[in-house]
Symmetry: C2
Subunit: 378 residues, 2 copies
Amino acid sequence: MRDRLLRTALLFCAVAGLGQQPAPSNVRGGEYPKILPDRRVVFRVNAPCAGSVSVAGRAEDSGMNGNKPHAMTRGEGGVWTVTTDPVRPGFHYYELIIDSLHCNDPASESFFGWGQETSGLEVPDESLDFYDSRDVPHGEVRFRWYRSTVTGTVRRACIYTPPDYERDTARRYPVLYLQHGAGESERAWTSQGRANFILDNLIAAGKAEPMILVMENGYAIKAGAEPEPGSRGNEAFGNLVTEDLIPMIDAEYRTAADRDHRAIAGLSMGAGQALRTGLGRLDLFSCVAAFSGGGRGFDPKRSFNGAFANPDSVNRRIRLLWIGCGTEDRGYAPAKAFHEALTACGIRHVWFDGPGSHEWQVWRKHLHDLASRLFRKS
Amino acid sequence: MRDRLLRTALLFCAVAGLGQQPAPSNVRGGEYPKILPDRRVVFRVNAPCAGSVSVAGRAEDSGMNGNKPHAMTRGEGGVWTVTTDPVRPGFHYYELIIDSLHCNDPASESFFGWGQETSGLEVPDESLDFYDSRDVPHGEVRFRWYRSTVTGTVRRACIYTPPDYERDTARRYPVLYLQHGAGESERAWTSQGRANFILDNLIAAGKAEPMILVMENGYAIKAGAEPEPGSRGNEAFGNLVTEDLIPMIDAEYRTAADRDHRAIAGLSMGAGQALRTGLGRLDLFSCVAAFSGGGRGFDPKRSFNGAFANPDSVNRRIRLLWIGCGTEDRGYAPAKAFHEALTACGIRHVWFDGPGSHEWQVWRKHLHDLASRLFRKS
């Protein structure tokens, strides 16, 4: 009976066009992709000369039914459409496949992922508003160019400053260094991740200390060096952070420039970078967080240059060690094993699991939880 | 003889791979599009299943030989390439055409233009460095979210703050409101236009007063209103600026908040917006600039609600009226007619013409000239 009522209500909404909405990730004024009340999504592409058109998520575990192509149907004038099954809330990279050619959807904003500008679908979660742009004071997202001595290039950092940063000019703020995943860039945490809105909302609710976020590009090669064979070209990232980025940030922003007020976190590739950089320099960082990665093959005595070899010392020096992973992530088992090995050694840490795969919706929740714990007066 | 030497030198460079460079607009690590020493450009696309592939500029007057498609040739493994004729220095929107489908080049960063994310080709001009990222102090490019009462939405402004803004905290700065063209967004002036580097370089050389740039999205419709039939959906832009944007900027930034320290400029669609908004509110603005647009059909007595009807009054009230247009721009004749009509009326203004069409390379030069004249102690 309840199901029947719900179905009737949804049918009514569909007929009336109620509850349908353009995806928030569409370009200005774009009607499609359109999200239906049950989270099915209507895609629409104008390709009069094409012989076949489909749309597909970019990852095997994407919320758009993995990366299985949804075949589109040709309509009048060569406009192709498809209505998908319900799509998981959150952010999903996707692509069009037109006569075997993989390309972007002109109807979507683009997001740097997979090493290129990529279409993205944002599906709202009606039960969550912690990452929405709400009517609260907003911080700024800033881009700053600086010269790196490590890479020998001018680089661009992305910096979130909290709402009252320009007003409360006597105040100094703690800093979270926050890294993206493979194939992404320094823009990812604010565009795909909505890190700025997550912090705005937490700060407005008094649930997080006002803090600065610093997001850099995780790809960094030493000046004059070639990338190591088979590497990601990110070998110099740790040096970049400690030798160039932190000094620049502490010189240019009103930071509380000590280890108690400095944390580092990252997702996937960035999780490994955060663990290696943070644990290798506990003189600079007191909090380290790994989102969906970084702990594979953990050996308490040897991993991270033996940083965990002496649990008592670790527990004294690290104010917060935070590890999380989505339960449907292919890396869940190694992440859980990392957590269990830490527990077995008596190393204090937060373990955060919950539904989701290797995706931004999980990392938004990770940041939300982490930020609420960082830099609190204990 | 000189030509022969030059040709030999270029041939030598080509054989040795000297002087070839990836376009600065490529995605991270991308080798193609590749710019040859004579500014021919090699495009390369992986499309094994395609029957035909070409690359084309997006505008009739694009520096890539207009929008004439350059047919690409299929090579081994379905990799298509073409070497174009020499391309004009500057920024050119472009697209791939694959079996009649118009799509982005995955090798290029994307730039919001033509109402969507669009590929862009940046061709360096060896004789100009005023818009390059040079070793000078850099300002910040900030994004700020704020609620507009005019549109009833949360909007995002893009703000450039000059290099010492965070250090020289007693100082107040003049503000230039700076608008993009049709189909673009608040990101255009800093990404396509390099406005931040232009200002950094001018300020470092002591050739411009340190100033704040404010760039908003020129599309704005009154809360609850439908776009007027056939309109661009930008009717409420002037109200947005005067009722929401200026008060927000003056409240949140250390501005010199009076007409003497406030200017407005824009390009193409934005030129019209700057003229209408600025001339309509000379109580708020003392300087108005129109880049490549806004003066078509000018009538000294009636245009802009009669703002120019009394030349003496105009000359007293406007500190700087600036008009420019590229000589190959389709709008050059009306722009020149506007300039000549102003001259005939005795209205003091700067007229800036020079080579170029309706393109960013021209607007970079426009901003460079305008910024060097604004807010100077006379």
